[in-house]
Amino acid sequence: MSKIFAFHGGIHPPENKKQSTRAPIRLAPIPEQLTIPIQQHIGAPAKPCVQVGEQVLKGQMIAEAQGRISVSIHASSSGTITDISPQAVPHPSGLEAPCIRIKTDGQDQWAPHQGLADYRSLPQLELIDYIRNHGIAGMGGAGFPTDVKLHLGDDHIVNTLIINAAECEPYITADDMLIRERAEQIVGGIEIINYLLNPTHILIGIEDNKAHAIRVLEDALRHTELNIDIVVVPTKYPSGGEKQLVRLLTGVEVPSGRIPADVGIVCQNIGTVAAINQAVFHGTPLISRIVTVTGGAAGKPQNLEALIGTPISDLLETAQVNHKTLSRLVMGGPMMGFTIEDDAIPIIKTSNCIIAAVKEEMPPAPPSQACIRCGLCEQACPAELLPQQLFWFSKSREFEKAKHHNLFDCIECGACSYVCPSNIPLVQYYRFAKNEIRAEEAEQRKSDQARQRFEARQARLEQAVLDKEIRRKERAEQAAKTQAAKKASNETAAKTPEDNIKQLKTAAAITRTKLKKALSALEVAKADSSDNIAQLDLQYKQADHAAEEAQKALELAQSGPQVPTTSAAPDIKQLKTQAAVARTKLKKAQQALKIAEDKGHDGADTLRATVVQLEEKSAAAQLAFASAETSTASSGSPLLALKESTDKALGTLKKAEAALETAIANNSPAAEKMKAGVVKLKAKYTEALAAQKSAELNTQTTSAPKATEVPAQNVEQQPTARTPADLKALKQNVSIMRTKLKKAETLFASAEADSEQAGELQQEIVRLTQLHKDAKAQLDAEEAGKIKAAAAQGIDLKKLKIDAALARAAVTKLERSIKKAQEAESAELNALQNELLAAQQQATQFNNTLSQFE
């Protein structure tokens, strides 16, 4: 037996432990709904690794550890994940925190798990990782990740291992019952920790009010080879506090602000030890724990083995708690536990006790009186502080002094509050003061940072002003020099590339005009079918023209390899657009033809001819485009021209809109017409955008195969892939390739015996794999293009939104100024009101357009 060293202070509150030790540990029923907080420990919260709706099995990891100080979390029972959302968690604040909710299926089906046959064969680091992955955190109080404590061997010399079985808080008997019934697990756990830390000395600290447990433990320890001492300490609160227990068992004090490992001691809670045993030998993660449910309102106070995440209400029901007499629900012990308001709060890894107290056993505290400095708190303080001084300082917010009086050595055990004859909530004041000090420190850090940033910004701005000044001077000098140089030599600027671009731009403009015309024609055609022929004729001419131009552009592009790629690329773009346009026209013509045929018009023949011609043109355009494409390498900025055209369209659109607004404002009769015009313009703009989009698509499709150096036959096999926007075909292609590949593979597998055939097949497979790969790449590129296109359409909306927001803001601002004007009875009132009306109209207009689009 080891010597016991006393610590200062301590109290002897009524124990109330007998009530809950009469019955053996019972399994709590599986609840319908498990609520498992993702942070049940000190350190970083675990990261959920399951999705809502996913089926999980018991023991399956549902959130994994993140960072060094963290532990993973496992499903306590099998079921479906219903929710990952903030829920009320066991915390003194009563706040909500993210939880994973599982609807249990009642099967309680285990995920496959297996213990380690011989953990000694594993390297220590791996074993520690194993424990971490099984979610073991300290089950005594704070929930410190156990693996971190077991890891200490590296940078600390651990000579003493202390197993904390003191369980000094009144009411709680979870550890007591654990020892009585599962002592062999504890011994096993100690052996594992012994292997990891290799201490010279192992002590189990247990209070002398647990005679039964001590006997059982002594029996169990006979079977182990380890030298383990059971140290029976006198019953006194808070002998189970880590620092107090260290002092009791070893006479050593943990230096202020340090951890026991700094003096070569590691403490583990006895519950944690048992959990390690279960994890290592049986592979079961920490998914349940023993909870004491007791208190005056409990009909059957007892210890329950509850799944982590079980709502408290279930446990209360099992313990037959009388809700009529229940006045306070405390989670944890009466000295350090916290009250909970919501009995849906779940059990977590650190929940050791639930006290359902009646009013008589935990009466509301009487009002606090003045401190008479009686010193009882000082006699009770286990950290040898001066509680009353700390109280004065905390109350008057003299935190500097409180810190000097070692406020941060307070372990918040509550002994001082317990003994205070004036009922002063001492420990509450300390908690408050600690909080405030930490918050102040954080604020100080933040304000220092803000200061630094502000000063850095000021410096940067000053520097910017200086730089600008310098640049201005330099520019002035430069300008003077150029002036001089210009005078000296009359130079001519070579503008060939620029000319080229201009040309292309013009071409684009022309195409656009045609497009517009074609559109209007279509509309008219729709309105009046009799004029079909003339309209279609016009269309035909236009298409012809477009095709010709495309041809021209193509020739230009083909015959001019000396033309820089930057200028050639937009050309291709245009060709593409034209090809697309031609196709569209063809389609429209076909439709018109169909209508005409249906109606039995005489012009049907002509139309048919037109369609044929259009088909030819379309094919020609397509061809031209394809050849142009193959002839030139695509470059980074081919979209420029198109973009410019879109911008222009936008500009026109805006102008038209502005005009419309003024028209509306002036109540002009032309407003209706103008509106229609605007709508048309918008459509046009959208089309321009679409063109741009498709252009973008094309760039990608063309670049993809080139990058992967396709074999010749591949190109032959997939001509369709060349045509833009044919996603379906591409997909089909890919799946065909896949099927072929699979077939070949199966063939290869069955024909393994015949080596000759196998060789051939293998070659075939290689080829097919390549093909498949290529097809897939194309498909991917296609899809990416689509996504981009969608984004491009988004821009439109965005712009509109901006305009709408601006209009709204203008309205609010005007309203404000009108208010002011009203107050001031200003003469401007009328003018302002008119302005407001106009602004409101504008805003509504925008909103309407916006709603059309959304």
Partner: protein, 203 residues
């Protein structure tokens, strides 16, 4: 008469001696700058919000060192006033309502789908806590935002909100215990306001 003469002579020689001492001290112990400004600046919240009527916290610190009132800093609130009073050994006065009222701590939040990317708020932010570029949507780096609300006014589309800092398990604080019955009518003030926004501790 000789007594008077002697007295005068003695005084004269004393004056000479002490004059020399004074002269020496004036040269030797001359104080450069004013270290108190740094100390004051340390106590100010560094929101750089300008509500005090000075362009930034340091200018206000300098003004305080030159005798300006210490109650013009709404973000710092009463606690800052008390800290300043403590440092400068003057009486703590209530916050001057003319410069604004103490409110809960907030951070700026940009409603991003309404942002038009005008960069006006970026230019207004004294601590470079807003990220964005022209025509791009902006966002606030919450951890750097001091809650000065200088960015709110310049926004042309009013898409910046000052949202109170949310209480989570990590920044949750214990409420101070309700002071017992010993509290009397005359020492209400601060303690009462602290007590009023709490719930549920023994009363």
């Amino acid at each position: 008469m000789s007594a008077v003469l002697i007295a005068i002579l003695v005084l004269l020689s004393l004056a000479v001696v002490f004059g020399l001492v004074l002269g020496f001290a004036a040269v030797k112990f001359k104080v450069e700058g004013n270290p108190i400004v740094d100390q004051i600046d340390d106590l100010l919240p560094q929101t750089q919000c300008g509500q005090c009527g000075h362009p930034g916290c340091r200018p206000y610190a300098e003004a305080i060192a030159n005798g300006e009132q210490i109650n013009k800093c709404p973000p710092g609130g009463q606690s800052t006033i008390e800290a300043l009073a403590d440092l400068l050994d003057v009486e703590a006065v209530p916050l001057d309502a003319e410069h604004g009222e103490e409110s809960i701590k907030t951070v700026a939040y940009i409603r991003e789908d309404e942002c038009i990317g005008c960069t006006k708020c970026i230019q207004a932010c004294p601590v470079d806590a807003i990220l964005g570029a022209a025509k791009q949507m902006h966002t606030v780096i919450v951890s750097e935002c001091t809650g000065c609300d200088l960015c709110v006014e310049p926004c042309p589309v009013d898409c910046i909100d000052m949202l109170p800092i949310e209480t989570t398990l990590n920044n949750w604080k214990w409420t101070p215990p309700v002071p017992g019955i010993e509290l009397i009518a005359t020492d209400t003030g601060r303690t009462i306001t602290h007590a009023s926004n709490k719930e549920g501790t023994p009363s």
